[in-house]
Symmetry: none
Subunit: 202 residues, 4 copies
DNA sequence: CGGTAAACGAGACGGTACGTCGTGTCTTTGA
DNA sequence: TCAAAGACACGACGTACCGTCTCGTTTACCG
């Protein structure tokens, strides 16, 4: 698509933002999230820890939660580069394990709480959804399609529902905490989803 | 230790608590949660709206979130009295629809956010889990067992995982908001879980 | 006027204000004014030094300047109890000396700056004017009237102008600082005002 | 000192300063002082209103108050060109009227507050004192001396005190605001100072 | 029936964090 | 090399709630 998107550059006047400052802020936010949980992530705390003025933070983020989310997004490899193996189902299990590990981490736990605490349709929510939920689902969808092609999964399945069945349990256990979130569980999820609950016809 | 726990009644001296005050507090909390979301639920706000002193609230609840949760629990029929029909699967669908409706309501949405925002293992969390999650799961388990007995569901399934597959998607859509949470969806969840993803053997 | 002024008492509900807190705030304000001048008198500074929360101060005063003025008014004997001597003129000189000393002090200097910085007709200004300017003028007026009776001052003088001539130079020197403000000066002011600039008729 | 001070011209390299910029800054400062009082005069406000960068202002003035004072000095005829009449006393009255009018203006009121708020011996203070107070006093002194020569004023008067008596009341009324500052008042000041308070000997 | 103890409203209090504004210094690009 | 634009560290602003406390008042019960 050459020539498209004229990319209005709007050359920025004045002193450019210092990337080191941005990095310090994100680092501070992540450290606070890790050490003190969601409630420890305050604008004042971040500013103090990063050695930065509050207005500097407000210039880029509207509130402390945004900073924490940015930090999470920045520090986390959103494309969790799966080594495609022969079996799409095995790949799915691998992806689920990684996701679970990521969100079960200190920071991940905090971000999950953060997301949950964010009511309504905010920019924050959209960013998170795009970076993690949708990306995971897109990958998952590709894997499922490959599985369909390989004959491991039946055609004509309701893709949206199937994907929810796969990814929802992770967040569910994370939030409710009624049972552990480990790789045995995520593997079981895939197995059970694959097999269904109906008795096998024979 | 038979006969132990003599149940020291500790005859209550002084003025007894006024049940109307308690009701006013819960009412105020619920109204605030409905109208202004989670952030509107503050101790001061509740006290002002209920025409009550702050210490009166602190006498019974440790923080504003607890009050909101109490209000939700109090106002909500936790036993969602299912009319048992002939088909356990149909009953399951019915239960899921009710759950979805409950949590998709203004108040339910608020409580969900509240729960999500509650990090760590608090009394609040436990109460919520007991009243809603575990109760739903217990009912669901009974239904599944009946379905097994009826031959609709295969024996030997991993019950914990199966229940998570059933209930997780509701919270997932509620929290992430990537797709609507309606009865069509909850029905599809049951259907897909039942059928599994594998191609039907013939 | 018996029976008049029904004096609606409006019994104060809730916890009464702690006079010790009030005292601590005023003390802190005065110390700051003394040590760091007007710019050192900040709400945050006062709160920190008094070991008091900011809202506690805002409950009684609208801004830092008010606190400083209150402190000055509180700590200062506004009725500078003059020992009435035989000569009203001598009494006037004595009063002027005291006034000059009061406002030339560290705190007095600060308050003067404060007053000057207060543009417009604020409550603050009115309070200050009432406590110091008007009180001084009232005393001065009495002294002048006694002097008229004693034949030391001519009758029919423009009292307002005369009083301004007496009190203005103190503030003038204080604010402009073009020449020292000492008792020699204040005595000279009285002498010159008394004698006038015209050559003495003989 | 002939030949000395070779007047190192320091050939100005680069872009020369734009005199229009200076004017814009002073104009903005004066407008702000007029419209919003002393507190409205901020570096940021001036820069924004003048369409000028903050450093440009800091290059010439150390703080916002200085700019405001400069603006006042620049826009104001400091030599209030008195038409010398036959009577020095009448000239004095005329001068006092002009002074009062000048400082009673919106801007003048602001500058007065500014001066008063300036504690300590700053450059600002000195500049103001030199431009207005001392200049007025010098003129006044000349007039008084002429009056002495004319026999209207007694010789041997304490000149410093006399001048304070003349000029102080203007600032006093301006700052305290207990009574109006009009030409009737300034005329009365002169009259009363001239006549003194003592009864006329006969 | 009168004392006493707790509940209750009101609100003061020491705090913490909020989000904004102004300061004075700096580092860019553009003229 | 000056000017504009604006980033930056800093610090104070005034507000909102927090959770604790001290009041005076009300309402039961118990002696």
């Amino acid at each position: 698509m050459p020539g498209a998107k004229p990319k209005i550059v709007m050359k920025p006047r004045g002193r450019p933002r210092d990337p080191k400052v941005r990095a310090a802020i994100l680092k501070a936010a992540r450290e606070l999230l890790d050490s003190g949980g969601l409630t420890a992530v305050t604008m004042e705390g971040i500013a103090a820890r990063a050695g930065v003025g509050k207005p500097t933070i407000y210039r880029e983020w509207p509130n402390a939660h945004s900073v924490a989310l940015s930090a999470f997004l920045e520090f986390t490899p959103s494309d969790m580069e799966l080594r495609a193996s022969a079996s799409p189902i095995a790949d799915l299990k691998q992806q689920l394990r990684k996701l679970a590990a990521l969100f079960a981490s200190r920071t991940g736990r905090g971000v999950t709480a953060l997301i949950a605490a964010t009511q309504g349709e905010t920019e924050l929510m959209k960013a998170f959804r795009h970076h993690f939920i949708l990306k995971s689902r897109a990958e998952g969808q590709k894997l499922l399609e490959r599985a369909v092609a390989a004959g491991d999964v039946r055609a004509g399945l309701n893709m949206d529902v199937a994907l929810d069945l796969i990814y929802a349990p992770i967040y569910f256990r994370l939030l409710i905490g009624h049972a552990p979130l480990d790789s045995a569980f995520t593997d079981d999820v895939i197995d059970t989803v694959m097999a269904g609950l109906k008795p096998h016809k024979r």
